[in-house]
């Protein structure tokens, strides 16, 4: 990635403040005050000591020396530093939390309109995991990079003003520090980071898949020692490579940190020499000499936190770029805002053509017509297009040719809401929300009564009582439904779909994981419940044809 590309990727996230702007501004102000306290404390102390030492040379000047004012100043800066440091942390964190909540809402609203294919891309779960890591990386943009850089630059500006009013000839020294904070450090960080970064991303992904193979493939490896020896060796080599990359970037960070310290030290050291050699007439007085050198020395504290942030810059920019790439996609298929209402639960598919990619055509002139109220069993070999048909009917994908009508209306004319009201569907991958059982059912209908919940759970055979869930409807369901068995998760999904009371219900492998007897019972209860409404039951299993009005085999 080039620097300007990186900056372009970051720009929208710099300006997206989501109402946290005033908090961040206050945080910046407090950050500046903290640094002023810090610089002031050292600078004034140095000046005070020097002044006192000069005055102390003679008893008369010593008696006249006003030590109350500098003494009070020193105490003031000490308190300022302590108080503003604490408030700065509180305020910036408050702002950051607001910022990152806003970022998530913004991202969620964009992602909600994308199709599953746009959302997960080619790598499925890993893409989403990375997405979350990327947002975390962007969360750090303000508190770690922008605010410290700005407050450092502002304070250095102040130092420059002090220099300009005392020794104008040396104003370039603090200006140099400003350039260091705003330009040089980010640039150096970028240079150090952006070449290693792609290698690191690749190295980590590589190591991850190898480790995953070690653990998930253990079943096979445990029976064949030679294969394990090879896999183990490969994996450790990847690990060593990854560690070497980390070592490289760690070393760069250490060098950059050292270079920054040297740079600030050089400024102070140079100032000392230059101030001492100024021509006699313009020579700064003793106290100023000490104060200016001390001021420059104290600047180090403002710069050091910037080093790490600068090194993270390429990673943050890459994160911004990935988020933009996902969230910036226009939703496809595109939905109209308001469409007609379908008249019944019929489905007409004519000359359907669809392929996921050019190698694997799934449909080539497929026809299907389903009467309103008909119960249809769709059978077919695995990979025959059953699940693809669902994606097309729920309009997660648009066909490349042919037409689909539901209730007499072309699918593409329906708005999102009308289509969801028309078709209820359970896909092959079922998901449950982290929350209570009732929360999960309410996803189908926010105003659902408790009786209705219990009735539907009984229908799908998921009574909390029979499942041994003592908390009843308040039973907690873990992330993604991990605390449920596959069968339970599926039945919960069916319950939600039935609650939609849509004219058309589509269930993909609803009885997967059930034994034949339970399967037969589930079929009879669901078909009875959906009397007079259209049902598409998709299964690769045989033996239950009698329960349906019609059987269609696809993909053969």
């Amino acid at each position: 990635m080039k620097l300007n590309e990186g900056l372009r990727a970051l720009a929208p996230f710099v300006t997206r403040l989501s109402g946290a702007g005033s908090w961040l501004a206050l945080g910046l102000l407090l950050g500046v005050l903290t640094l002023i306290g810090n610089l002031g404390l050292l600078g004034l102390s140095g000046a005070f000591l020097t002044g006192a030492a000069i005055a102390g040379l003679a008893p008369t000047t010593a008696a006249l020396f006003n030590f109350f004012l500098p003494g009070a100043g020193v105490r003031f800066f000490a308190m300022l530093r302590t108080l503003s440091r604490w408030s700065e942390r509180v305020v910036t964190h408050e702002g950051t939390f607001r910022l990152l909540a806003g970022l998530r809402v913004w991202l969620y609203r964009h992602l909600a309109l994308l199709s599953p294919r746009q959302l997960a891309g080619r790598h499925g779960g890993e893409t989403l995991n990375r997405l979350v890591r990327d947002i975390d990386a962007l969360d750090n943009l303000y508190p770690r990079l922008i605010l410290p850089a700005l407050s450092a630059a502002l304070v250095f500006g102040l130092v420059a003003v002090i220099f300009a009013s005392t020794v104008p000839a040396l104003t370039w020294l603090p200006v140099l520090l400003i350039v260091l904070a705003l330009l040089l450090l980010p640039l150096l960080g970028w240079r150090a980071g952006h070449t290693v970064l792609p290698e690191q991303v690749k190295g980590r992904a590589n190591l991850r898949t190898h480790l995953l193979d070690c653990s998930e493939g253990l079943e096979d490896f445990s029976l064949h020692a030679d294969a394990w020896t090879r896999q183990r060796g490969d994996t450790l080599a990847r690990s060593a490579h990854w560690l070497a990359l980390q070592c490289r970037s760690g070393r760069r960070a250490a060098i950059l940190r050292a270079a920054t310290t040297i740079a600030v030290g050089l400024c102070a050291w140079g100032a000392l020499g230059l101030l001492a050699e100024l021509p006699a007439g313009s020579r700064t007085e003793g106290p100023w000499l000490a104060a200016l050198v001390f001021l420059l020395l104290a600047c180090n504290e403002a710069l050091l936190p910037l080093v790490n942030a600068a090194l993270d810059l390429p990673g943050t920019a890459a994160a911004a770029q990935r988020i933009q790439a996902i969230a910036g996609q226009p939703p496809a298929p595109h939905y109209v805002t308001k469409g007609p209402t379908p008249r019944d639960g019929s489905i007409e598919i004519r000359a359907l053509r669809f392929a996921w990619d050019s190698y694997t055509p799934v449909f080539n002139g497929f026809d299907l017509s389903v009467r309103s109220g008909e119960h249809l069993l769709l059978q077919g070999a695995s990979g025959g297009g059953k699940s693809t048909l669902i994606q097309l009917l729920t309009r997660f994908e648009d066909p490349q040719g042919g037409t689909i009508h539901v209730g007499g209306v072309p699918l593409a004319d329906l708005d999102d809401g009308s289509l969801r009201r028309q078709i209820a569907c359970v896909g092959q991958h079922t998901w449950a929300k982290t929350g209570t059982l009732a929360d999960n059912l309410r996803l189908a209908d926010p105003a659902l009564s408790e009786e209705k919940m219990r009735a539907i759970l009984t229908l799908v055979g998921l009574d909390p009582e029979t499942q041994g869930w003592s908390a009843g409807l308040e039973t907690w369901i873990e992330e993604g439904g991990a605390s449920l068995s596959g069968g339970q998760r599926r039945r919960l999904a069916i319950a939600r779909a039935l609650l939609r009371q849509a004219p058309i219900t589509i269930l993909d492998e609803p009885s997967e994981g059930l034994d034949p007897i339970a399967e037969a019972a589930l079929i009879s209860r669901i078909t009875a419940h959906l009397q007079d409404r259209t049902l598409l039951w998709i299964s690769h299993r045989d033996g239950f044809e009698a329960a349906f009005d019609r059987v269609v085999r696809i993909g053969t």
């Binding site: 404390l41 530093r81 029976l223 070592c247 000392l272 003793g286 998901w431 993604g480």
Partner: protein, 584 residues
């Protein structure tokens, strides 16, 4: 966070440190570099104070001071270079620790075997192997070295100041006994902050990820837009809850900051007043000059700097603590496998016997109850039963991947406790219920079954499993990448690939776990036909809940309530019914 959990975690981290963290060479380097760094800092302060004193008070011309001035530069550079060396030492130790921990984890994983792995939460192992090992980095690279200097550096500074001014040393010393208190305070504050902030972030990310994963489902329920409000609400709630804790936690940092500021302010005021002649103590009767005053002033902030650094590295410790707990659980896990012996079983297909086996995965649970099974050499047996009923457990017992609580497992007449388990497993072909692709080439995916198989043998196995036409269309042939980042296979193709793996094994025993699950009737037929071919001259145990595979076995047994028994009639009727349907 409750303290017992913390204690087990710190114990785990200590164990990991003791076992993997011993690198005397690098540790010495870190200490030497760190001490030299402090020496350079002290020298720098002394030289700077000297030059300022000479310029301002003595009025010496700068030309006479130029050599000292250059020495200051040397100190600045040397100090920074020592810092690089110090960090390098930390990086190297962390590297060595992470490499060794990962290697040990892999070996532990292999020793514990697939039956143990199966009990772990999905994904938790690869997280341990990657993320949690990496989480040790900050602790070993930065926190642990910094711990030494949080004590060493202040001591060195006190030791430098005390001979010239006990008052200056006293101002710092006044707060020095508090340093351990500070360390605890900093630790407490940082821990609160860390756990609270991290948890809030993780929960927020978890909630967000959960919803994003569920988006297709939410969209079908038309709930996807409604839940944007929930995202906002969750964000607000976490902010509110976290900030309540953070406001307090930041106080610990503020206290440290306060003492550091006070030390500087007090030093300045004390020396200022002494210079003006208004105070006269603490200097062993010597007169005070600017040089000493500035020297002490410059060292005051350095006294506290290592402690403040420790605070910023504290999150590394919190991360390592959390990771260490999980890692140590794996490293200390007890094996579920029998130890085995060194007797090799005879050539040819062995007889397999389970003799009154009782087995439960955990205390109080019984999966198998005095369960017996007798399979003659070369026999084929199918076992049916409900999922979760212990069918796979039977196979694991035969493989020596699980140890029965009671009863004997005999392979070819020898007890499993006496035979060489590695050699025995090499003679078994196993088809798992969920065959899996590795992210590697087709050839590597096949050589998992036999590492020395020739390319011709691989091709033959593919043809045998019915993947011949599919293979012929692959442009890259055996080098075609499969799995993540490569070509994916359909369920049926994957099952056939597993069949090709079975074909490649030099096996005398076939253990097949649901070899036709979730296949359509046509593919199922093809797979069964191949298994029928493979079973000749081998002992076969086949687990299934489907009817079709039953026709190629000699005997069918039902696993019910932890015991094997002959099938009941009703079930057989069903088999006939299904068979009849398939025939029609």
């Amino acid at each position: 966070m409750s303290s017992p959990a913390l204690d087990t975690h710190s114990l785990a981290l200590r164990q990991i440190s003791r076992r993997f963290g011993h690198h005397p060479g690098w540790s010495t380097l870190i200490i030497v570099a760190g001490v030299l760094q402090t020496v350079a800092t002290i020298l720098f302060a002394a030289l700077l104070a000297h030059v300022l004193h000479a310029l301002i008070i003595v009025g010496q011309p700068f030309e006479q001071l130029e050599s000292v001035w250059w020495q200051i530069l040397a100190c600045i550079v040397f100090r920074a270079l020592a810092g690089i060396v110090r960090e390098e030492g930390g990086i190297r130790i962390s590297l060595a620790v992470r490499g060794a921990v990962r290697e040990t984890l892999l070996d532990t994983l292999y020793r514990l075997g697939p039956a143990w792995r199966e009990r772990q939460q999905a994904g938790s192992l690869s997280t341990a192997l990657l993320e949690q090992v990496e989480a040790l980095d900050g602790y070993f690279a930065r926190y642990r070295p910094q711990q030494w200097f949080a004590l060493l550096t202040p001591l060195m500074i006190i030791a430098t100041l005390a001979p010239s001014s006990w008052a200056a040393a006293g101002i710092l010393l006044l707060t020095a006994p508090l340093i351990p208190v500070f360390m605890i305070l900093v630790g407490w504050g940082a821990r609160q902050r860390q756990t609270e902030q991290l948890q809030a972030l993780q929960r927020m990310s978890g909630h967000f990820l959960d919803l994003i994963r569920g988006l297709p489902t939410l969209r079908l329920l038309d709930a996807h837009l409604r839940l944007a409000d929930e995202v906002e609400q969750v964000g607000d709630e976490f902010r509110w809850r976290t900030m309540r804790v953070l406001r307090l936690a930041f106080l610990s940092g503020a206290v440290l900051e306060f003492f550091a500021s006070i030390a500087i302010a007090l030093s300045a005021v004390y020396f200022g007043l002494t210079l003006l002649g208004r105070l006269d103590f603490g200097l062993y009767g010597h007169p005070l000059d600017l040089e000493l005053a500035l020297f002490a002033l410059l060292l005051a902030p350095e006294f506290y700097q290592p402690l403040r650094d420790l605070g910023t590295h504290y999150h590394a410790r919190a991360e390592a603590l959390a990771a260490a707990g999980e890692l140590q659980t794996i490293l200390n896990a007890a094996s579920l496998q029998p130890a085995g012996g060194d007797t090799r079983i005879g050539n040819g297909a062995p007889a397999l016997t389970l003799d009154r086996i009782t087995f439960g995965h955990r205390e109080g649970e019984t999966v198998l109850r005095k369960c017996s099974l007798q399979i003659q050499a070369g026999d084929a047996v199918a076992i049916r039963g409900p999922s979760g009923g212990g069918k796979t457990t039977l196979l694991r017992l035969l493989l020596g991947q699980l140890r029965a609580q009671e009863g004997d497992v005999l392979i070819g007449g020898l007890s499993i406790d006496d035979i060489d388990l590695v050699a025995w497993r090499e003679r078994v072909a196993w088809m798992s219920q969920h065959p899996r692709l590795m992210a590697d080439t087709l050839a590597a995916n096949l050589r998992v079954a036999r590492s020395d198989a020739s390319e011709a043998e691989l091709r033959e196995a593919l043809t045998f499993a019915g993947l011949g036409t599919w293979f012929a269309e692959l442009r890259d042939g055996l080098a075609t990448p499969l799995g993540e980042g490569g070509r994916q296979l359909s369920g049926g193709q994957l099952r056939r690939l597993a069949l090709a793996r079975v074909r490649l094994r030099r096996a005398d025993v076939l253990l097949l776990d649901e070899p036709t699950a979730s296949l359509d009737a046509e593919t199922e037929e093809a797979v069964i036909e191949r298994i029928a071919e493979l079973r000749r001259g081998r002992t076969l145990v086949l687990l299934t809940h489907r009817a079709a595979p039953l026709r190629i076995v000699d005997r069918v047994l039902d696993l019910e309530n932890g015991r094997l028994c002959a099938p009941r009639d009703e079930a057989e009727d069903m088999t006939k019914h299904t068979n009849a349907w398939i025939a029609a």
